[in-house]
């Protein structure tokens, strides 16, 4: 890295020294980046061209065979499909619940600070804790959920929440919504507080009811932040591993196996490290679409 534009423009020797200092300050970050992100990323693409046996880490070059095998088989497509179903469904619930809860918490309710803390807590709690609690709630014999639903007459028979389809997918989607909707709440709540009151007053004078005010004032104001939140959450839900792996392990069979779970299974269940990296790289290519969209959106916002 060399002198910056600022330095060469002014030609001030002090600026030039400053540029050097700037580079020195960022150097540790760049070094770590290269070691734990750039190198592994390049390495992943390289490894995906090999056939590697995980326990010995020995293998031979097979070119694009891993990818050919992947795209010809059914499992990759099934996992991609599962990933999309999971992402779209849980994201939809997160956004709807998140916006609704944010609107609610924006109103004056008693003990509002406590209410906010309680709503936000699931987001900060470890996925391991969330999963343990929900697996206990979902327990088919002693779980409180089955019991409540039997008692209220919603169910005739105890339900197998995690071991059969479509229940397993519905369960992880629900738990995902519960765990991550607070993210939407915080983002929307922060934005709601900056909407000027006079917009609402004007709408009221024009005869808009509560619903009209929401549609004409609130929603357009939330549009930008919603876009950012949806993109971010889409990216994060797409790559979610912990929650699904710990809830169902991808089961029954591969009915809830998403792409990150497939990577793990190929690498450590089937000992095919090369094919696993091929799945990971393919998955990253799909995600790249969202990532580029998000980067462009953020780039525009920075420019503003």
């Amino acid at each position: 890295m060399s002198l910056g534009k600022g330095a060469s423009a002014s030609g001030n020797p002090l600026d030039r020294r400053d540029a050097m200092l700037g580079v020195m300050l960022i150097a540790p970050s760049v070094l770590i980046f290269c070691a734990v992100i750039v190198y592994p990323l390049v390495s992943a693409i390289y490894l995906s061209l090999f056939n590697i046996f995980t326990p010995t880490l020995q293998g031979n070059f097979v070119g694009l065979d891993n990818y050919a095998e992947l795209f010809a088989g059914q499992e990759f497509w099934r996992s991609l499909f599962n990933t999309l179903v999971w992402t779209v469904c849980t994201l939809f619930l997160q956004v709807v619940l998140g916006v609704a809860a944010a609107l609610m918490l924006h109103q004056a309710i008693v003990f509002r600070a406590l209410a906010r803390s309680l709503i936000l807590f699931p987001y900060f709690v470890s996925t391991v804790v969330a999963v343990l609690v929900w697996r206990w709630l979902f327990n088919d014999l002693y779980g409180i959920l089955n019991h409540l639903m039997l008692w209220s007459g919603l169910l005739q028979m105890p339900l197998d929440w995690l071991g059969s389809m479509p229940n397993a997918m519905i369960s992880i989607v629900l738990v995902g919504a519960w765990k991550y909707f607070p993210f939407v709440v915080i983002a929307i709540l922060a934005r709601l507080q900056t909407i000027p009151d006079h917009l609402y007053e004007a709408a009221t004078i024009d005869g808009a009811g509560a619903w009209g005010r929401f549609m004409d004032v609130t929603l357009p104001q939330l549009k930008d932040v919603l876009m950012v939140v949806i993109l971010l959450r889409a990216i994060w839900d797409f790559k979610e591993f912990d929650l699904i792996y710990l809830m169902t392990g991808g089961g029954p069979l591969i009915a809830t196996q998403t792409l990150p779970l497939m990577v793990y299974k190929e690498a450590f269940g089937l000992d095919a490290m090369g094919r696993a990296t091929a799945v990971a790289v393919a998955m990253m290519l799909v995600m790249l679409v969202f990532m580029v969209l998000y980067l462009r959106k953020m780039g525009r916002e920075q420019a503003r």
Binding site: F33, L57, S117, V128
Partner: protein, 272 residues
Amino acid sequence: MKRIAFNLMAWTIVLITAFPLIWMVITSVKPQFELFRIPPTFWPEQITFEHYARLLWETPFLLFMRNSLILSFSTTILVVAVATLGAHSLVRFRYRGRERLAQLVLFTYLLPSVVLILPLYLMMVWLGVANSLLSLVIAYTSFALPYALWLLRSFMQGIPDDLEAAALVDGATRMEAFFDVILPQALPGIISTSLFTFILSWNEYLYALVLVNTDDARPLTTGVMSMLVSSFNIEWSLLMAASVMMSVPLIIIFAFLQKFLTRGFGAGGVKG
């Protein structure tokens, strides 16, 4: 009247959302036999702390706790120190490639761990540090550093340029200005970033699952799950007690430092 109805509705929704966590606490203080009562009791008929005692004295829980604390503190200190210098450089200095670098940071912040994890696993084996807390600290920087850099950069952009300029006019060097002017101004941001980095490391699961398979280096996340897998019949009250204990640091952070959390959230790439 309408007020009361709205409040009732709002609090019902809040309590439903919080119910799983409330149930976790209730289950953890119920005696084992009461769990399998049909119909289940809501309030425990008798409160017991035997599961907590067993957790602490008869399981490797404290070892996992120690590992998690070492791991999270080391990661946080390392990452926040490096990222504070880096973010300062990205915000206040001019050199070629600076904007590209900032974009790269954001890009890596979104990168899926499963892509990095297999090469990192090979790297740890090759370096000879596999199965150690050190390998986890190294691996955790791969998600914590982009995150901390991005967050701190947003915070530092909010500090007016004039402050540093005034110090420079007074004859301070850039580094003196950094320590005397920028750092105190950035302190709330640094605290927020540290808390988030700590929580991220505390809750991390995937790297710990892949990189460590000995109890000596296992953090709480994989440690507690291994207790679930290894036990013959699942002891839910013990697991719920473990879940509560695991969440204690978060509860502390939540109770005392919540304003830093919400502030950090606003800066972290979700600005409207």
